[in-house]
């Protein structure tokens, strides 16, 4: 027998703020569980048959793009690849904390992530003129693999939502930002030095703010070695003497 699922969704529409009577509330939806149903399939069914006004985000629905992170029974997860069969009958869905709320389950990660990328200058810094018609610079295969390991971050925001420091310190750059620093630090194309990175994240809102609560690594859907990399960068940056 298929289960009946009760899906409770936190509803709130900040766009209607001027209307003082609009408050946040939980809405309950009851649907029949289908075989290999994901939260993506469940929410799509709810929107098409029960509540056309329910807002949530999905793009790739394959665990690749990171758009659908939300709190599922208390933990930040990618909703597209969370199977309902792994959850109890009652499923509680909330938007990711710490990001600006758009509406219901939809949060504005794009603006935050772009600002983070600019803050850590998330691009190759190089003084070399590259001739693209010529043979590329060789890179040790192991080094390319190591960069790729850290480049796999999909900016879903789970690590930020799972981070105790971020909840206390609004300007904390988060594991996503620190991982980006670690990624460029090991990329041979990037000429930045440890002092340069110190300038970017060598403070309490950066590498020294992390309280090592492990929330980032525990919730990262791509299983990135976030804590190891933060510890590694912290050791490196702690050696900077300053001028």
């Amino acid at each position: 027998m298929a289960r009946e699922l009760t899906i409770k969704v936190l509803r709130y529409d900040p766009q209607q703020k001027s209307n003082g009577s609009v408050k946040a509330y939980f809405q309950e939806y009851k649907i029949k569980e289908a075989d290999s149903m994901t939260i993506y399939l469940a929410l799509t069914q709810i929107r098409e048959t029960l509540d056309a006004g329910l807002s949530f985000d999905f793009v790739c629905r394959a665990g690749i793009c990171g758009s659908c992170a939300m709190m599922i029974n208390g933990r930040p997860k990618l909703a597209c690849r969370t199977l309902t069969k792994d959850l109890p009958n009652e499923i509680i869905l909330l938007p990711l904390p710490t990001f600006n709320l758009i509406k219901d389950l939809s949060v504005n990660t794009g603006v935050w992530m772009d600002a983070m990328s600019k803050r850590v200058e998330s691009w190759i810094h190089s003084s070399k003129e590259i001739d693209i018609a010529n043979i590329e610079e060789p890179v040790e295969p192991e080094v390319a693999d190591a960069v790729f390991e850290l480049d796999r971050c999909i900016e879903c925001g789970c690590c930020v939502a799972g981070c105790g420091t971020k909840l206390i310190k609004e300007d904390f750059v988060g594991a996503v930002g620190l991982n980006r620093v670690a990624r460029f630090e090991c990329d041979p194309h990037d000429e930045r030095t440890i002092d340069d990175y110190y300038e970017l994240v060598g403070d309490d809102n950066g590498i020294f703010g992390c309280m090592t609560l492990l929330g980032c690594e525990d919730t990262c859907p791509k299983h990135l070695p976030l804590q190891n990399k933060i510890a590694y960068m912290r050791r490196k940056l702690a050696t900077v003497q300053g001028s």
Partner: protein, 660 residues
């Protein structure tokens, strides 16, 4: 009312749009990118297997160059492509990949010494010389003579997209996400930007620009089952169509990928077969060699998809509660290879099918079924990327019919096209923005804005009417059933007439949720009529094209008909019409570098030849023979056979290992 001005407006924030924006920003233009979603979430991120570029670095790529890549692309297109554009593309692709390397894409690199690969189910040892160590590696893909597909594990699109997006941020491109272009501003056959809806606040604004480039990707979501992301609804294509001036090319050319996971429709990259994985039927039998003894599992995508359908029709499919499917077996590659090079594939199989594809034998086989994957058709452009009919409108990437893919695209050629077209078209586009001024009256702009504001209010005002989700789902069903891998006149007639009725209905939708801001139902209400127009262009184009070419397979017209159909379909939409206007643009055989011939699949006689092909072939042979005897090099011969325009920095000779 809000009017925002910029020099260069790019609609769509995937690889093509962002790379074009970089081209504009590099020339000092104020550049805005509009995107439905944060740009790093674009569908480009889903490209797994890799990007074709003839670097010729690896052992199995030795001897590769532009000529080989060009020949593969033209054959792959079933002679439907624009050969000049294909030449522009293959010449620039190696430069694109090297540029991306310098921007930090961590391409998988070659390691010196012996390593093992699975080729035709046999473990084979490949030796890489010292001088190749550290250069960009490549893997095998379908329909290519050499191993040409460069990759980062199976997350190639992701790493490319992040690099190009970061480059855009570095150059201060103004990226605005959660913004949707819902109409183009145009006047006297010239485009001046777009009317844009803020998907959060619902505000309608005019973005006025010197030039406008559409790079919104494909329209896979008009089908029920597709590998495309949920945002691939073809709205960028539709707003071009709705001008009544810009035209769409070859909309009936729709590619089906052989191996999406069944039934969820999540892509398992062609790299699975490229790396040595094979398809199996219900008996565990590897069937592709029976049909395509030469290319086997690595025949072109259209060919493999058809053979799979054929095999299932013979009763060789695996029955399941969701329908019939086949198996993809990558377990023969070994766990180590999978966990390094096909990790996302492994994760997808684990999460969505509950299997570990590295498990040996049947236990690790993944259920697969061909599904809609790619739109070869799109906004018709000249080789510069500009619409031939609507000045100032450019298009690049999957949204465009720049036409290097013709009627079938080779795997690895589309992600390559995004950045290559972003470079070439982006440059022409930037030049246009430098050379042209905005000379449109604000009252004309205002009229467009007011029209759309009134339309949104009208949509939420109706209390009774059609349910937009039902119309949308019906459309998807029709496309799936009648405009799929195999098509025939009877089914296509049905599709066209029912889509037309649905289009009429879609104009009478009642929206239950009445607010103008953040309202997903309202979005559907204005998108679905546009999607239906796109669907009608596909179905009508397919009905009228009475031949089989590339991915367009008519069971009632099984032959490729070069005598009558060596031409590009153009569809446009006149305001108030219920059906697109269809016309044709001939392909000139006498200008082709490779005149039409046998593609190498199936029976040889399955072709109605055009008498000009033989004449041109003779001409080509004579020129080649003469010039070779005079000691001319391959570049000079190519130039004599088919000259093509390309920016000088991209036309430069690509240096390869061993070149003097």
């Amino acid at each position: 009312m809000k009017i925002k001005y910029c020099d260069a407006l790019v609609i769509g924030g995937g690889l093509a749009g962002l790379r074009a924006a970089v081209a504009a920003a590099q020339k000092g233009l104020s550049t805005t990118v509009l995107s439905l979603v944060p740009v790093k979430r674009s569908h480009s991120a889903a490209a797994q297997g890799g990007m074709q570029a003839s670097l010729g670095n690896a052992k199995m790529s030795e001897g590769d160059n532009e000529d080989v890549h060009f020949t593969d692309t033209v054959k792959g297109s079933d002679w439907g492509c624009d050969q000049e554009v294909a030449r522009m593309f293959v010449t620039t692709a190696p430069k694109a990949i090297r540029e991306l390397a310098s921007w930090g894409v961590p391409w998988t690199r070659i390691k010196r010494g012996n390593h093992e690969a699975v080729i035709n189910t046999k473990r084979t040892t490949i030796f890489e010389d010292n001088d190749k160590h550290g250069l960009i590696n490549s893997r095998d893909f379908g329909g290519t003579k050499k191993w040409r597909t460069c990759y980062t594990s199976d997350a190639t699109g992701h790493t490319m997209l992040f690099a190009v997006a970061n480059e855009s941020l570095r150059l201060n491109v103004n990226i605005e996400d959660r913004k949707e272009a819902i109409a183009l501003i145009h006047h006297e056959n010239r485009c001046y930007g777009a009317i844009v809806r803020d998907l959060i606040t619902g505000e309608i604004a005019a973005y006025v620009s010197k030039g406008t480039l559409i790079a919104t990707g494909g329209y896979g979501r008009i089908y029920e089952i597709t590998t495309n992301a949920v945002i691939c609804e073809g709205i960028g294509t539709a707003i071009a169509l709705e001008t009544g001036i810009a035209k769409l090319g070859n909309m009936e050319a729709v590619q089906f990928h052989p191996t999406p996971l069944f039934p969820s429709g999540i892509l398992l990259t062609e790299g699975c077969r490229g790396d040595g994985g094979v398809l199996r039927d219900k008996d565990g039998h590897r069937f592709m060699p029976d049909y395509e003894p030469e290319k086997k599992d690595l025949a072109s995508r259209d060919v493999v998809s058809r053979r799979m359908m054929e095999h299932m029709r013979k009763g060789k499919g695996v029955e399941s509660p969701y329908g019939t499917h086949l198996w993809l077996d990558i377990s023969i590659l070994g766990r180590e290879h999978i966990e390094k090079n096909l990790r996302d594939v492994q994760e997808i199989c684990e999460y969505f099918a509950g299997i570990d594809p590295a498990d040996e034998g049947r236990k690790g086989w993944a259920p697969v079924h061909p599904m809609q994957h790619y739109s070869m058709g799109g906004i018709r452009t000249k080789p510069t990327g500009e619409s031939p009919t609507l000045k100032g409108l450019f298009s690049a990437g999957e949204a465009a019919c720049w036409d290097m893919h013709g009627f079938n695209r080779l795997g690895g050629n589309s992600v390559s096209e995004t950045v290559v077209a972003g470079m070439i078209v982006g440059n022409y586009f930037a030049d246009f923005c430098i050379e042209n001024q905005i000379d449109i009256k604000t009252e004309i702009i205002e009229k467009f804005v007011f029209e759309k504001e009134a339309y949104m209010k009208e949509l939420v005002s109706k209390d009774t009417g059609e349910d937009v989700f039902r119309i949308k789902n019906r459309m998807k069903r029709i496309m799936q059933e009648y405009v799929g891998i195999f098509r025939d006149g009877e089914g296509l007639e049905k599709a066209v007439s029912e889509l037309e009725q649905l289009y009429v209905k879609s104009k009478n939708v009642a929206v239950k949720n009445k607010q103008l801001s953040a309202n997903p139902e309202l979005e559907e209400a204005y998108r679905v009529p546009m999607m239906l127009k796109v669907a009608l262009c596909v179905a009508k184009g397919a009905l009228d094209r009475t031949e089989s070419r590339g991915a367009h397979t008519r069971e009632d017209y099984p032959k490729r008909d070069d005598a009558n159909w060596l031409k590009r379909t153009l569809t446009s939409w006149k305001e108030g019409d219920l059906m697109p206007t269809v016309e044709y643009e001939p392909l000139d055989i006498m200008k082709m570098e490779i005149p039409p011939g046998f593609r190498g699949y199936g029976a040889k006689g399955n072709l109605i030849e055009n008498p000009q092909s033989a004449i041109r072939q003779q001409e080509v042979d004579e020129i080649r023979e003469k010039m070779e005897s005079e000691g001319k090099d391959r570049y000079e011969i190519q130039e004599a056979l088919m000259p093509f325009e390309l920016q000088s920095e991209y036309k430069r000779v690509n240096i390869r290992l061993g070149d003097k």
